[in-house]
């Protein structure tokens, strides 16, 4: 398991944050996801096998841009 911090661009409403959460949670290997609209950040707990690219895609699927993973 690893914990990743995401910095996300383009959110401007509450349903944005919940959409990203939903999309992340639907990604295989991601256990928990929480996204804060206020800080434009998110945290995911994912299995080690999850690649950054998959997380990036999950965020993009909901229509937003992942600018950085820490």
């Amino acid at each position: 398991m690893k914990k990743l911090k995401l910095i996300i661009e383009g959110m401007h409403c509450a349903s944005c944050a919940s959409n990203i959460e939903k999309s992340l949670k639907n990604t295989r290997g991601i256990k928990t996801a929480s996204v804060s609209l206020m800080l434009k950040r998110g945290t995911v707990e994912a299995e080690d096998s999850v690649r950054e690219e998959e997380i990036r895609k999950a965020v993009a699927r909901a229509g937003y841009k992942l600018t950085k993973i820490e």
Partner: protein, 649 residues
Amino acid sequence: MINRKHKHEEPEDAEITSWKKKLILSWILTTPIVITMLSERLFDFQLIKMPYSSIVILILAFPVVFIFGWDTIKGGIRGLFTFYFNMDSLISLGTIVAYTTGVFYFTGVVQDYSGVAAMIMAFFTTGKYVESKARGKASQEIKKLLQLGAKMSRVLRNNKEIEIPIEEVKAGDVMIIKPGEKISTDGVVVKGESSVDESMVTGESLPVDKVKGDNVIGATINQDGILYVKATKIGRDTFLAHIIELVEEAQGTKVPIQKLADKITSVFVPIILTLSILTFLSWWYFSGDLSKSIGVSVAVLVIACPCALGLATPTALMVSSGMGAKRGILIRKGEAIQTMKEVKIVMFDKTGTITKGKPEVVGIYSKIKQQELLNIVGSLEKLSEHPIAKAITARASLKKYKKVTGFKVLRGRGVEGKILGEEILVGNRTLMNERKINIKDFEKKIINYEDKGNTTMIVVKNKKLIGVIAVADTIKEDSIIALNILNKERYRTIMITGDNERTANSIAKQCGIKEVIANVLPEDKAKKVEELQRFGFVAFVGDGINDAPALKQANVGIAIGSGTDIAIEAGDLVLAKSSLIGVVQAIRLSKATFKKIKQNLFWAFAYNIIAIPLAVAGVLHPVVAEIAMALSSITVVTNANLLRRTKLK
């Protein structure tokens, strides 16, 4: 740190600036539309002859909806196709439908709503601008905290002072901090004396004196002397970095009351879309008026506001975190804010929480020569890390220690070991009982100390009493004030301690605490919390290191400590300044925040429950609906900002 800072600062400001730009451009084009439409509607005066006015409006409205509003339209349409609906989906559908009527107007079948489309988009943009500003305000303290770290540092390398970026500072570097400068990272003073303003990190308003050997916190401000500080922690390991991490994580935690709102937010948009279609169909079916049906269904689309619901909790939590951080109160779990309301019992650990946690020897009673007693006890206690042991070692301040064999720490009771073949036991009553040592001879002396609130350590050599050492830990001055407030507010205040009853009762009396649970071994504290939970929700206040299990067991765990000493990972709330006033403030802040969250959720629900039926009923013009929608989310964020007016003490 520098990178982090930029990443934080820019998106928010960029968002505000971009809304502002769109807002200005939108209104430049929308204002003539409004004038044309109003003069027609209200004064029946045509500024531009029909049908040219419709063409002009259609042309003016196009950029407002499709160019300045492109991000919204794009996001919204995309959402409709990918089923990740959001706010934009509603607005874009509403404006596109409205705009399209303008095109079909020339076929003569519908009323022209294209001007309305521009107005909806312009008001939406305005609302978003105001809202993003208010959101920025809500997070201002936290953002300040995120930017607190020093950027540069002056270090000594090869006996030369050089300024380097903070990232290049290594642990072990000696930093030179002049008066008025920020201490660049956590470290220990190696030379110099000064006082340091730590308020930005710990909330402690008085400057703290620092001399050689003292720890200093990065990002605090040196006041009057030059300090030479050896860097001990850098980058992600610093105290500030930990605080920031904690605050950020807290924003991601959920307050339970928010769950319903979150659930609704996630299904809100599809429900409204369906409702809007149904509204359109039934209006058309029953009234046969296509234009009116379109107008009403557009109003339904744009009035619905998931934002107010979704923002209600996070904005309040954000403002609250900021207010707390300023006072050294860190909210780790949003849940604690809700739980705090139910707390009936506040339980305090004694040492280091109610008292200063720096015990001193205040009395020695010895049957043998006092120095002899100190030689024995000092040598033995030297090997223990316990605060009382340290106090005794300090008092003995031996130059030469005796050799100790078979040393053992008896947790919560004392220590034992052999010195020159003689069995030495130093400990409290519990230990004496356990070893069946009769303390009758010393009883009076011991009681005398205990009545004063001292902790007594009984010294035994070969099962015979040889002395008593009394140790006292001073009560923090503001503990008394804080407990007084809590008692007045009808909390059941309880002190828990490993001390015996007499000592504990004396301390309790001095500080005004109502109940005492004495003779508790450290590992049993959590169990005591559990027992008390039968009577109601318990908040436990303790140091986070020894009390971690108790903090966890409690409904709300409040970890307390001074500066870098706190175990920041323990507790639902963390107090960075070692004052019980912080507990009072934390309780008040939590309660006020929860009240604010409830208010916000109430307004958000009430708004949608009232406004949506009105829109369905066709009594609201789409533009009025959009204004109402924008106002509802602005209200929620502004209301959250009003939390700042709460008096915490």
